[in-house]
């Protein structure tokens, strides 16, 4: 029997519904684990202990009165510290916004609260989400629960560490070049970047308007689908919000892999990949084939430009977001983020428009490649999880000796805007989780979640947890 703090939301929900488990006990458990473990993880920036307990008591009474709201009712959830919670600071991992008290909930915060979720805290992240390692010079690095000397990846590093260590049962992250999927991969979680526009960004700090996605991180793909059901929906206040909704995100769970057409890229996604990671992903593809999937190779010689286009769009949008802060509070940035932004100020309008046009070109190629398959399966992160020391830049340097290639694969699907999921597909000899990415066509989110769920049920790699 899995310890309570490592159970999935889907396992816990029936216990709460039946009254066997109280939201108060569950919240106290989460807060006790934060108090005991977060000194070594640094996952939580703002703990909302009193509010969480008060909320848990309210929800316990509501459930006892027979007003059960659904699968997230009474479940402790964490938020990356770029989601607004009314009355609480949204720092975005920066000192510039240290005292930025939100006057209202983000759209997704409100949706989670409406579903009965209990917000236990705001979670550590890379400064302004500008980086892939999970390091933060202002608040310290989030540490990987599987080995606290190693990075969590980022930028949603605290979200991944908190869920992986059993400090909460799910979390929200944001993903502009892989910031949900990379941390999920190296912390042994499922992390889902939905189709662009399916989840509102209102009340979420921008990094890059046309590449930013909000999504869930949880212990299973099924839990991600459950969270998606709560947070997705059109929001007129977000100009990028889609009017179309892909339907229930859990609609295809339990359908298995029989007949699913799985594409394996013949180019780029297996080039320069660590041997243990490649072996784990290819073995997982065979597991999918054995479960009835139809596996075929897909040529995509142009795929290497996906990450390039992602960065080409992201960089000028980010500098536009930061224009006023760069003028008013330049010295409050870390040297690394300041250098990124100041270099990005040289990007011309023509370069930005060229990147946007290249995105159209790229997405037509990807659309054609996905015409004959339902999903693409690739590694999430190409390298083994580096240590914090390896990723820490020496004085005057922009990057440490590791970490520069972490987002090479994930960023491709920020260019396409299509749904993309990372699931655990094995472990390295060092005992670190390995992530496999499953990506699909725009608005076919449920298909991607179906494949991830079926794979997890077949392989069961997600049932292992850190020893803490």
């Amino acid at each position: 029997m899995t310890e309570l703090h490592y159970q999935s939301i889907a396992e816990i929900a029936p216990q709460i519904k039946s009254g066997k488990l109280s939201p108060v006990r569950l919240t106290e458990l989460a807060l006790e684990r934060v108090a005991r473990l977060d000194k070594s993880l640094n996952a939580v920036l703002t703990l909302l202990g009193d509010q969480a307990l008060a909320s848990a008591h309210r929800h316990a009474k509501e459930i006892q009165a027979g007003r059960y709201r659904g699968g997230l009712h009474g479940i402790p959830i964490g938020l990356k510290d770029l989601f607004d919670v009314e009355g609480v600071a949204t720092t975005a991992g920066s000192t510039i916004l240290r005292h930025n008290i939100a006057s209202a909930d983000a759209f997704v915060t409100r949706r989670l609260k409406d579903a009965g979720a209990i917000i236990i805290g705001k979670l550590n992240m890379v400064e302004f989400a500008m980086g892939a390692t999970g390091l933060n010079p202002h608040y310290g690095p989030a540490r990987n629960p599987w080995d606290t000397s190693r990075i969590t990846c980022g930028s949603s590093g605290g979200s991944a560490a908190a869920v992986a260590a059993g400090l909460c049962f799910g979390a929200l992250g944001s993903d502009t070049g892989g910031s949900i999927r990379m941390p999920a991969a190296v912390c042994g979680l499922a992390g889902f970047k939905p189709t662009y526009g399916v989840v509102s960004r209102t009340g979420v700090l921008d990094l890059s308007w046309t590449c930013d996605h909000v999504g869930p991180m949880a212990r299973t793909t099924a839990d991600c689908a459950l969270m998606m059901n709560a947070i997705a929906g059109h929001d007129p206040a977000d100009p990028g919000s889609a009017t179309a909704r892909p339907g229930a995100f859990d609609a295809q769970l339990d359908r298995g892999l029989r007949g699913v057409r799985v594409g394996v890229p013949a180019h780029y996604f297996f080039e320069g990949v660590d041997a243990e990671i490649e072996a784990a992903v290819r073995s997982s593809i065979e597991t999918m084939r054995s479960a009835g999937a139809l596996v075929r190779e897909v040529a995509m010689p142009w795929a290497k430009l996906g990450r390039t286009i992602n960065v080409g769009v992201l960089v000028p949008e980010a500098v536009a977001v930061h224009e006023q802060w760069l003028k008013a509070s330049r010295t409050k940035y870390s040297a690394e983020v300041r250098a990124r932004l100041e270099a990005a100020q040289t990007t011309s309008a023509l370069d930005y428009i060229r990147a946007l046009r290249a995105r159209r070109w790229f997405n037509e190629q990807m659309e054609a490649a996905l015409a004959d398959v339902d999903v693409l399966v690739t590694p999430t992160v190409p390298v083994q999880t580096p240590t914090i020391e390896e990723c820490t830049p020496p004085p005057g340097a922009n990057e440490g000796k590791a970490g520069g290639t972490l987002g090479n694969f994930t960023g491709v699907f920020n260019t396409t805007g299509g749904p993309s999921l990372s699931v655990t597909c094995g472990y390295t000899r060092a005992g670190m989780p390995i992530g496999m990415m499953i990506s699909g066509r725009a608005f076919e989110d449920a298909t991607v979640l179906r494949v991830g769920d079926a794979y997890e049920r077949a392989a069961k790699h997600n049932l292992r947890h850190p020893d803490m």
Partner: protein, 70 residues
């Protein structure tokens, strides 16, 4: 702010004299980032994008999300 010049110490002295707190290390880091960015832009310039308008391919159009508290 960004510069292609190599004499970072001298640039830093000039910047400080003008009231900017930009150290030679800042200039080195900006220079490193510029080199990486220019490599990306060079790859983008090599793509023939003449047939493509810069719009999204699906119905969710990009735009600015409103945030609270700023």
């Amino acid at each position: 702010m960004a510069t292609r010049a190599r004499d970072f110490d001298e640039l830093s002295r000039i910047a400080l004299a003008l009231g900017f707190r930009t150290s030679s290390e800042d200039y080195r880091m900006i220079e490193n980032r510029l080199e990486a960015l220019e490599a990306i832009l060079a790859q983008l310039r090599a793509i023939d994008v003449s047939a493509f308008e810069p719009a999204s391919t699906f119905s969710a159009q990009p735009g600015h999300a409103r945030t609270h508290g700023r």
